[in-house]
């Protein structure tokens, strides 16, 4: 399934105000062409507004929006070559699946003087994308006769059939049940590879963002806090907020020297053998096990030391800790994250 070249997106000092509330606050962002970029952040951080502004459904208050360098800010919604899948799918209730998918192409044919793509071409591409998303038996069904998963796939098919250079996904997996979500995740990534467009996915689920994206953007209060490869954001969180927001369980934090903070990931803690001394330079953490969360291949052990608590991950093969057991573990210096008094990363 060929596609036009994916576009590289760029937001320059972009702001969006709804009356007095500020949804995007001088945001700067670069979305690499052809990437699968996930935008994650707490609710109200401006990620949905980002999509609505990119798609053109909302006008920009100030700043610029570029695609491959071309200024899109003033270009009307329909003419930006941007397709979007809504969170609640927004299918056309009175059209069957085939009509839903082909509506965009039929509009294109109406608008162009050469009346391209032709009726046969539209039918072919509709059939092709329907097969790709396993919808070919459902083409005559109406939206209200479809399951949640099927509706989501129709919404995807409708967006993808026009071969858009940019595909926006608004919490695409939120409405699916757990089982369907896993297969849909793989489906979306496969789809991204096949159509080669730049995909920008908005989600509140940081786990989803980490697993699916090749470019991760963390937002807060209308601003981009960090944008990088997922493993880089996971390994080098730029501040306390990113550190605790990305990755589960949350990064353990405890007061560091001179008011700063020391953070370590649950999997970076190494259990000491009874009587073993803590190696030099390593951080020693002690406590007793409060509860254990078994996840099949590993176990997250939540321990308490007086007022503070921390989580340690044990992998299969070691002796499983039980609530009430004493815990002494150490963290290697190079695995430690140091934050200053304001939560910004040091070094």
């Amino acid at each position: 399934m060929t596609t036009t070249t994916a576009s590289d997106l760029e937001l320059r000092d972009l702001s969006k105000h709804y009356g007095s509330t500020v949804a995007l606050d001088h945001t700067d962002l670069h979305v690499p062409a052809g990437s699968f970029t996930a935008v994650v952040g707490p609710s109200g951080c401006g990620k949905s507004t980002l999509l609505r502004v990119l798609s053109g459904l909302e006008p920009v208050t100030s700043g610029a929006l570029l695609a491959d360098g071309a200024d899109l800010t003033r270009v009307p919604a329909g003419e930006r070559g941007v397709a979007m899948v809504f969170q609640d799918y927004a299918l056309y209730p009175h059209m069957d699946v085939a009509a839903n998918i082909s509506f965009g192409l039929r509009l294109q044919a109406r608008h162009r003087r050469d009346r391209q793509p032709s009726r046969a071409e539209i039918a072919r591409r509709t059939q092709e994308v329907a097969e790709m998303l396993e919808l070919d038996e459902l083409l005559r069904r109406r939206p209200d006769q479809l399951s949640g998963g099927q509706r989501q796939r129709v919404a995807l098919a409708r967006a993808v059939v026009r071969r858009p250079p940019v595909l926006l996904l608004d919490e695409p997996l939120a409405a699916l049940d757990a089982q369907l979500r896993i297969s849909a995740r793989a489906g979306l990534q496969r789809l991204h590879r096949e159509i080669g467009a730049t995909v920008l996915m908005v989600t509140h689920d940081q786990h989803e963002a980490l697993t699916m994206a090749d470019h991760l953007v963390v937002m807060r209060d209308g601003r981009v806090v960090q944008a990088d490869r997922p493993e880089q954001v996971y390994a080098q969180p730029v501040d306390r907020f990113v550190a605790t927001f990305v990755g589960s369980p949350q990064m353990n934090l405890q007061p560091g020297v001179d008011g700063g903070l020391l953070g370590w990931r649950a999997e970076d803690g190494r259990l000491l053998e009874p009587g073993e001394a803590a190696p030099a330079g390593h951080l020693l953490v002690e406590g007793t096990v409060e509860l254990c969360e078994f996840t099949g291949s590993a176990q997250d052990v939540v321990c308490r030391d007086g007022r503070t608590s921390f989580t340690l991950r044990q992998h299969v093969g070691t002796v499983w800790l039980r609530p009430g057991d004493p815990v002494r573990c150490v963290v290697a210096p190079q695995r430690l994250h140091r934050f200053d008094r304001d939560g910004r990363r040091l070094g």
């Binding site: 459904l57 329909g78 209730p93 009175h94």
Partner: protein
């Protein structure tokens, strides 16, 4: 005692207390009572009256069978009135469907304080006393010194005796009636529009649809059932909606061109006290609409739409 058994023990209590059959019918009773006594009993009386020659006050009424029907069909006035009732239905159709739908869509396209104010203003004609509006129109349409002829005169058009000229009288009555119909149906369409999924409209915008295409391909198709319903209602009620204006402005004249079956029945029943003929005319109207309703039902069922 498995869990299922204990559950079963309780179930019958619930089932026994709930008797949908009896309760259901007792809920329907007020409606059946009221419609039965005050609509269908009088219909029966009308059918009986249509077979008698009685003027309501004389003690004797003699059975004349279909004589009333023969006299009714022989007089040209009733046939003319019946034909014109259909004319009213067709003429009022755009004012009960297209015009209010257009206004409702315009208001719906730009939600906000302005559209709320416009919607309230546009609903006013539905609330003002019909007699007052009719009288105001008599002023405006006065051939000698009315405002309408004043304006058309300035533009160079000849002065028209709007309510007195057989060519113009019916269209004028339709226009005078239209305001109230547009006002009512505009609000009903607005209600239907508010039920639509706004996200689907945004999706269409993203697919490159212009404002017009969004309305034509996404919005209007979803309003088809409401439009058809209001269209049918308009065909059925057009005669009744125009009744007040006909009786106040033209009394069915000139040369009977503005008469419709409802005004004719009123003239027969109350003007001439021909109770027999008035009842016969009503039975004919009732039979016509009952057949039309059955035909519509058959068409709908054969088309298989639920």
């Amino acid at each position: 005692m498995t869990a299922a058994a204990t559950l079963a023990a309780q179930a019958p209590v619930v089932a026994r207390r709930r008797r949908p059959g009896l309760a259901g019918w007792s809920y329907l009773l007020p409606l059946l009572l009221v419609v039965g006594v005050w609509i269908y009993l009088p219909v029966l009386a009308t059918v009986v009256l249509s077979l008698l020659d009685w003027n309501l006050t004389s003690p004797t009424a003699e059975f004349v069978g279909l004589d009333n029907l023969r006299r009714l069909l022989s007089e040209p006035e009733f046939a003319q009135a019946a034909g014109q009732t259909l004319l009213y239905a067709v003429a009022l159709l755009p004012f009960s469907t297209a015009v209010p739908l257009l206004l409702a869509v315009l208001l719906w396209a730009r939600p906000g304080r302005a559209s709320t104010i416009y919607r309230s203003l546009l609903f006013v004609p539905a609330m003002v006393a019909p007699v007052a509006v009719a009288v105001a129109w008599r002023f405006l349409l006065n051939p000698l010194n009315g405002l309408v002829n004043e304006v058309t005169g300035r533009v160079g058009l000849p002065a028209v005796n709007w309510l007195g000229d057989p060519a113009w009288a019916l269209p004028v009555i339709v226009v005078v009636t239209a305001a109230r119909v547009v006002a009512f149906n505009m609000l009903l369409f607005s209600a239907a529009l508010s039920g639509l999924d706004r996200r689907a409209v945004e999706a269409a915008r993203l697919e490159g649809a212009t404002g017009f295409e969004v309305v034509w391909f996404v919005v209007l198709p979803q309003l088809r059932s409401t439009t058809v319903l209001l269209g049918l209602l308009s065909v059925v009620l057009a005669g009744q909606w125009s009744f007040t204006n006909v009786s106040v402005l033209t009394q069915g004249g000139p040369d009977g061109v503005t008469d419709n079956v409802y005004h004719r029945i009123h003239t027969l029943g109350f003007g001439y006290f021909e109770t027999g003929m008035a009842s016969t005319a009503s039975v004919l109207v009732l039979v016509f609409f009952a057949l039309a309703a059955l035909a519509a039902e058959a068409v709908r069922r054969r088309r298989g739409r639920s």
